[in-house]
């Protein structure tokens, strides 16, 4: 808790008190008004080389990768994509209130697809040194981390020494077995329910969905152990995975993402903390990091 006074000073636009800020400060401070009042400088266009387009029979899901947190996993996934490893594989698991997972249905058999030039094992990229990245805390009392906020545009938790990505809805992770270095990015999962934050710092997160995650979260749940599908017919084909930069221009996304290192974003967080909409009778004046939601919109 001793970190909070620091946070309050750091976030000049955020209120640290429990009471709503004065009306003059919060007039029209709704999420949509903050977005309306934002300027071009408040948004960034993601690097097309860091957008993972997952094409399924239900629709396309786009993830933004986080090489700042998981450089080796991102590089390995890029190798797998370049060599078309994923094309024709499948979503093999849909675990209610937890994750959807895709990869090679034959991974544990003699018919496993070759990983090609990708590395079969990677050291877990579970945490960074706290001073390795610019971190913007928010005013939130978190169940799992000393402090939470945003770094490089991603929701993150931190303690005095370390910082890590958080398992919020839409977070993209690299499945692993019992050994910390048994993940490689060939088996990926996305969080589809309440945030399983106990997984934080135990498995590599390497990005988060910015579009279309509903195609994975609305899949019929698997009836096997841990939500795995029990027959090949139940799985959903992964038609292809491509980086944005590999796609012809007309197939690329044209999305922009609100920057998380600005005064505007601090105001956005505050607008989600103090809900000004008249529907709210009892404003909590509180927020959890997984309920912030970084705005994404078609680029202007």
């Amino acid at each position: 808790m001793n970190l909070y006074p620091t946070i309050c000073v750091a976030l000049l636009l955020s209120s640290c008190a429990s009471a709503p800020p004065a009306a003059t400060q919060t007039k029209s401070l709704t999420p949509s008004s903050v977005i309306e009042q934002s300027t071009t400088a408040d948004w960034r266009q993601p690097d097309q080389q860091l957008l993972l387009h997952v094409k399924t029979t239900e629709g396309e899901v786009i993830f933004e990768l986080a090489p700042q947190f998981a450089p080796e996993h991102v590089a390995n996934v890029k190798t797998l994509v370049a060599e078309r490893y994923f094309d024709g594989l499948a979503v093999i698991r849909s675990h209610d209130n937890y994750v959807a997972q895709w990869g090679d249905p034959d991974a544990n058999t003699g018919k496993a697809r070759s990983l090609g030039n990708a590395r079969p094992k990677l050291e877990g990229e579970f945490v960074l040194s706290r001073d390795a990245i610019d971190f913007h805390p928010i005013d939130s009392r978190d169940a799992y981390a000393d402090v939470v906020g945003f770094a490089a545009g991603f929701a993150a938790g931190a303690d005095k020494d370390r910082i890590w990505l958080t398992h919020c809805y839409g977070a993209l992770g690299a499945g692993r077995g019992m050994e910390p270095d048994s993940g490689n990015g060939a088996e990926l999962y996305v969080v589809t329910g309440h945030s399983p934050r106990h997984l934080d710092r135990n498995v590599t997160l390497l990005g988060r969905a910015i579009s279309g995650v509903e195609h994975l979260s609305s899949l019929r749940r698997g009836t096997g152990t841990l939500g795995f599908y029990e027959t090949p017919e139940e799985t959903m084909p992964i038609q292809s995975i491509r980086l944005g930069s590999e796609l012809p221009p007309e197939q690329r996304s044209n999305l922009e993402i609100m920057r998380t290192d600005t005064e505007t974003f601090a105001r956005y967080v505050r607008s989600r903390t103090y809900r000004q909409h008249p529907w709210f009778i009892d404003q909590s004046g509180k927020i959890s990091v997984c309920n912030v939601g970084v705005p994404v919109r078609p680029a202007r």
Copy 2:
């Protein structure tokens, strides 16, 4: 924060320290071992008059109602069920990472179905007096409530004076309009994503799913504003809603629910806080109330 010392004393089996408890205390303290070692007295069989069987074309969802928190809404829903108000209505909204909602597609038209003997408006049952119900706090630092825990078997938040049900995954709520008394239980929703806890104390929660919620959380998302379906063809029919007590014995559920006022449940919460499974490399030693999950199983 000043409530925590009290909680630590109250929960004799829970650890208040950040460090994992001594090995002798936690040997085999996994969620499944706690369940295995439980006794008959650790479980309760829900009252069939408080089980809401929602039958859809995708499968059956069963909710346990919470008259302890929302007596008027539960009574009104029972009236609606008794008069078969819900039969033939539909799930009209599936909002990604938020809620699925069902009710009368014609509610806002001249063709709205009659509410019969049910009351059209009910005062919001948003909070109870803290001393009105037996509350078992857990050791969790919560973003939204001073203290969290369980009351009458349901996840709850509390402050010094008040206690309320929390919007965790599977929570059942009564939709309302702008006025606090505009809900009546004819339009119900269930939480299907990360817990939208900012809704706590702003809308009446009256139960939670104990079986089959995946039939509602895996619905295709609506493409209209707020996830509403845009055409009648997209909605999913509600074939019927019945109380367990109305069903012939062979159609009733035979589930038992772990009691939340026992030493066994405190051990269960601790097993979810300190994950003993060897897969975990960096135990958080933390828990959020929506990640506890009260065990439900076929009755022995």
